[in-house]
Amino acid sequence: MSRMQAPGRDAGREENQREAARQLQAAWAVPRGSRYWTEVNNTQIGIWYAVVAFFFFLFAGVLALLMRAQLAVPGNELLDAGTYNQLMTMHGSAMMFLFAVPILEAFAIILLPDMLGARDLPFPRLSAFGFWSFLFGGVFVAGSVLFDAGPQAGWFMYPPLTSDTSQSGIGVDIWLLGLTFIEVASIAAAIELITGVLKSRAPGMRLDLMPPYAWYLLVVGAMILLAFPPLIIGDLMLEMHRAFDWPFFDAARGGDPLLWQHLFWVFGHPEVYIIFLPAVAILTMVVPTFARTPLVGYPWVVLAAISTGFLSFGLWVHHMFATGLPSLSLGLVSAASEAVAIPAAIQVFALIGTVLVGRTIRSVPMLFAAGALAIFVLGGLTGVMVAVAPFNWQAHDTYFIVAHLHYVLFGGMVFPLFAGLYYYYPKITSRIMSERAGRVAFWLMFAGFNIAFLPMHLTGMAGMPRRVFTYSTDLGLDGLNLVSTIGAFVLAAGIGLVVLDALRCLRRGRDAGANPWRAGTLEWMAAMPGASKLMRCVPVIEGRYPLWEQPGLERAVARGDYYLADAPQGLRETLVTTVVDAEPLQCLRVPGPTSLTIFAAAAFAATFIFATFHWVWAAGAAAVATLCVLLVWLWTGTGRIPEEPMRDVGMGLSLPVYVSGPASIGWWAMLITMIADQSAFLALVFSEFFYWTVATPAAPAPASGPLLAGLLAGALAWVLVIASRHLTGRDRPSPARIALLAGALLAVGCAVLLVVSLRTAGLDPSSSASAAMAATFVLWCSAHLAIGIVMLLFCLVASLRGRLDAKHDGDIRIVLLYWHFLAFTLLVSGLVLAARGAS
């Protein structure tokens, strides 16, 4: 083992170190003035993201207070029914889509880079795009309430109420399209988180040494990929129903409103865990720090995270217990609903065990953590109750459910989030929030919450229905309702106090220093001096709590003894490591500030907003604008050939700057995107089979001749893309280009033939749900073919401009990966459509 020269002896070396530090600060400097908003660094984006999401929390909270004010006394006339319905719908929708998911993603992109020892996650521009999409979409959706145009049908948007345009106004379109847009942003964040956790951990941070937080976020990212796409499919189907009269949910034309409930809840139930897991993840970071001991049962917690992740997909039907499903299905889902209590309990016991084993210090974050566990356990117990079908039928649509879900969400998400706010506030602002104000705020929140929601168990059991704007005094629940309202305002007072204290402490808070809680994880390592809070260099990790277990680590990092201690070309760089062992693999150039992400999000938002008002041409133009901005973004920001192939990252190691295939993060991002895409496709296939099981009249079949010819053209195109990738690999550019062009032409032919197969059979999508499904499959394939064609032409231009050769074949390999999935999609769609002809 060779030891490096002791630092500080050589004046020249010190000067070099100072110069290297100056380079790093310059490369990562946040732009000033109006260009400030073009920053894309994840930490910065995460802070904006969190602030905006928290603002939506306050907004949705005010809506809740208005509802509670309305319900304070029976027969109240403060709000009319329509307004109340808008507030109720927006409260749920905003809390779920505009607060809970985004703020936890924001926490993740702020914390993960430092926690993993990365300078940044691999796709900062994608995060920036996600943030701007979220901002535009969120303002659009939430703002609708202010113009009395908000959706009124509840956050679950059940048809036939919502598929009937005469009974539900533009609010439903705003909800469907605005939130679909935000779901796209969430999927973008999931891609960033998964790739980040898998590929940008500090060298040596093996899977068993990752902070538990990273494990949780990995699971949550995977859940987002699988859960959000079915809802996007549902949203699009419902919007097609409303806009073009494709009768997916119209029973008279072979549709079924229950299909929407399946698609919604197969998203909606995992959604609860998508917000619960990252919040518990915060607790797994907070509790060990104050217990002064490593997390008890780390492997058990990882097991719990993974198994909660998969079991949560087996619970969706328990939201549909009252819809008349066969008792066997109810039993199956009831069993899965109870099984999920096991991993939930493992997590609670691991946290309690950590407190018992350690020498726990009292603090405001721990107070919130304790409150979270107490509330969550109560919510979990009522959860097991409502998992039992017969009890569920009794409690269905009553305030008992309102109480249950708020106990789960406050205990499982809000209180952990506030624990995280108090815990990480010093990391972000370098100041500590007031201990005294924190205690008062906690007790106000804890007491207010229980005063508000505990009585709802009783009102619910006594028969108070939920989602009603008023009630009669005959119910005999006046007193309990008034108590709930008082509690809601006490809770709000507590939250208000936290907000005021957080604002006050930005300037007046006590100075925190680098590691005020004396935590052991990497995110609390002292940053190098300078405006950008940067780690001096990327360390080698040997334990789960490096600051506790690796003495001298901070000094060695501060000296710049490890990797990437300089930025000689003034570029932002981070290390890419292998998935399992975290061996250094690549020195990744991370893109810097750009306004492209803002333009892309704005154009994309315009597409959805115009579509809401059914301005088809304007929406089409905005979609083309989005595509143009994305192409500029891809052309200028990705796949560039570096001037020097290798970069000396320090410690005697040189790493390639350009890698392709599975070694590259772009390939992983495509793989992850396509998993989400396949999840959406699976939802389509599920819908087809769903109609089949409810035995709708004979499904119309597309014309078999053009269908087969189209599929054959698609298969040939796929083979040509494979050929082009191999020809590129052998440095034979001309045939490779011909293959690309021919592939693109065949893909056009495939799309045209698929459409012709519908036309020839005289299939009218508005005639029946089944015909609409056939058209949807063709539309889905055609849209994917169009994207595939753009990709092939992009590679063709890249090849002609000398950016694609045997050594730099990243683009074509990513495109080929897309085409593998496209070929699979075509195959399955072909089988589904051909099966209609056979049956």
């Binding site: 899977l207 097991l303 998969f310 087996g314 008792s327 199956l332 099984a339 690796q550 490890y562 062992d581």
Partner: protein, 135 residues
């Protein structure tokens, strides 16, 4: 602590390529139990929807289908478990290195996800065993 100059060549420890490929200690094995559970769940749900509601009400057919699926799913879980169990024991007997600890950790998680998925599968089979009719 001083960083080691040779650290980046030492990430693999003394592990050979054969070790790295060894069945039972890779991250993808963590997905086996969830996938088996999901397939089983989807099958049971589909079988109930088809044979107990949509296209017929035959509890006996459903019961047999569910039982066969459950036995198959449990057998697949056992097949995932055995190599993970062996790997865990083999690595436990050797001098621990960071690489071996990681493999052992992954094998342990594979085993425990199998156990939980097995429990969930048995729980999901019970309604088909207990129910006397489809309604």
């Amino acid at each position: 602590m001083s960083p080691r100059g040779d650290v980046h060549s030492g990430f693999r420890g003394s592990e050979t390529d054969a070790d790295r490929r060894h069945w039972g200690g890779r991250p993808r094995h963590l997905l086996h139990a969830p996938v088996i559970w999901a397939l089983h769940f989807g099958f049971v749900y589909g079988a109930s929807a088809l044979f107990c509601a949509g296209r017929g009400t035959d509890i006996e057919t459903t019961r047999i289908l569910v039982l066969v699926a459950s036995v198959l799913a449990l057998a697949l879980l056992v097949a995932t478990c055995i190599p993970a169990w062996r790997l865990r024991r083999r690595l436990g007997a050797e001098t621990p290195t960071s690489s071996r600890r990681e493999r052992r950790f992954l094998a342990a998680i594979t085993l425990s996800t199998c156990a939980l998925a097995g429990f969930a599968i048995i729980l999901g089979t019970l309604p088909a065993l207990i129910s006397t009719s489809c309604s």
